[in-house]
Symmetry: D2
Subunit: 135 residues, 4 copies
């Protein structure tokens, strides 16, 4: 039940080391999570307007194994791991094809996402419609 | 003969004004130019390795007409405008669909791209294979 | 009456060409404009809260002359050029020291900034207190 | 023996939630680490040229406690934690002043930095001059 989203590496993503700047994998992971939510009918701007709440990232743990380079075509995965009252964890990977056509893990991370009241920016209970859609 | 490339707006693209941060349209334009080049068989990392040269942006003129927001689905266009010995101009637009299903221009720009020797970072004559592919 | 602000080049600013990614000069220009406004007593978050308006960039024209690299120490200048009812132009440069200790222009631009109602995102008359502070 | 570096929040750092985009704390941490290295006589471009090696981030663990906003003046700290043959850990915090003039931790992280051969991008032994300078 892994969701995968394709991401291409552009100049904007690289640094003077010739590789993708490590902070940008958090952007890649977020794009994939956004599309994963959208694939379940959850669009974030609409969620904010209808529930008054929003997801915010509260913790990230990322390991960088191999570099990606300009023009590389990556796949970024999303796996729902577990959820509590007001936050959930997802596991993510950025994958590339090797020359032997097997998938190589470039980078992997665990991301904790909290649900907050968008006005107060305080933790709030994740709405049932969201939890149902994710499970 | 307009090339168009779809771009989705994510959190990373927005700022505290609630809209896409204006500098990021240069990233959107670049992604579209890269895919336009790729559609013509020109991949930039390979160009650098085979010719020793690379494109660098030498001038940008951009007008911002209407804001884009989180989750918006944009189309970014590329039109080849003219070329000289060592540089070329492209015209680009970021477009959104209006509620009446007509395309709205959010942002438009003229981008001048120079060809340089990648080691010396000095202007060089654009290789014939590139000019042929673009015309 | 040129305002100057120092900016250091970090990994985040560079790309795989080994130089500062061109779109990032717009960020450098904006940091310098923000500090120029602050030096005149104009803090943008406070302006928004007290006047209900905000500055938005409506046009940029930038020429890139020479590349900056990792660890370079730049000076970014701001010159007020002219103002109308609801927008103003500033001229900006990113400068580096040459080996002979003269200033080299790496990049220069004209930036048009419009004043908008922050809720409607529509052009509005620039408040007098701002025009007075800038002149 | 904590090193601290001041960082101001600009538009480029924020997102449509009105706060600093979480991935950007990795940039803030990196700026502070770069200045910490520089304060010890270690400039990264020069290190690459003289040793053929470079630091790359191999793991990040970051917790986000409170949001920062436009115009906020932060302090970012760096503490050397421990080092092995080819990598080291640093502990970092992004701090803001509270209304009562005490420091609030907005975000904290542990960053693992590996030393690699810049050509092969393979782990290599951290040069003695670096370890001596850091301890």
């Amino acid at each position: 039940m892994t969701f995968q989203f394709p991401i291409r590496v552009y100049w904007e993503d690289t640094d003077a080391g010739g590789i993708v700047f490590y902070a940008n994998y958090l952007k890649f992971f977020e794009r994939a999570r956004t599309e994963w939510l959208r694939s379940k009918g959850l669009e974030q701007r609409m969620l904010k307007e209808t529930t008054g709440g929003m997801f915010v990232v509260s913790e990230t743990r990322v390991k960088y194994h191999r570099p990606a380079r300009l023009d590389d075509a990556l796949l970024v995965s999303v796996n729902f791991a577990q959820s509590g009252r007001s936050s959930l964890w997802v596991e993510q990977q950025a994958l590339a094809m090797s020359e032997k056509n097997t998938q190589l893990v470039l980078c992997e991370g665990s991301i904790r996402i909290g649900w907050v009241d968008a006005t107060l920016m305080k933790p709030a209970r994740i709405p049932e419609i969201i939890l149902k859609a994710l499970k």
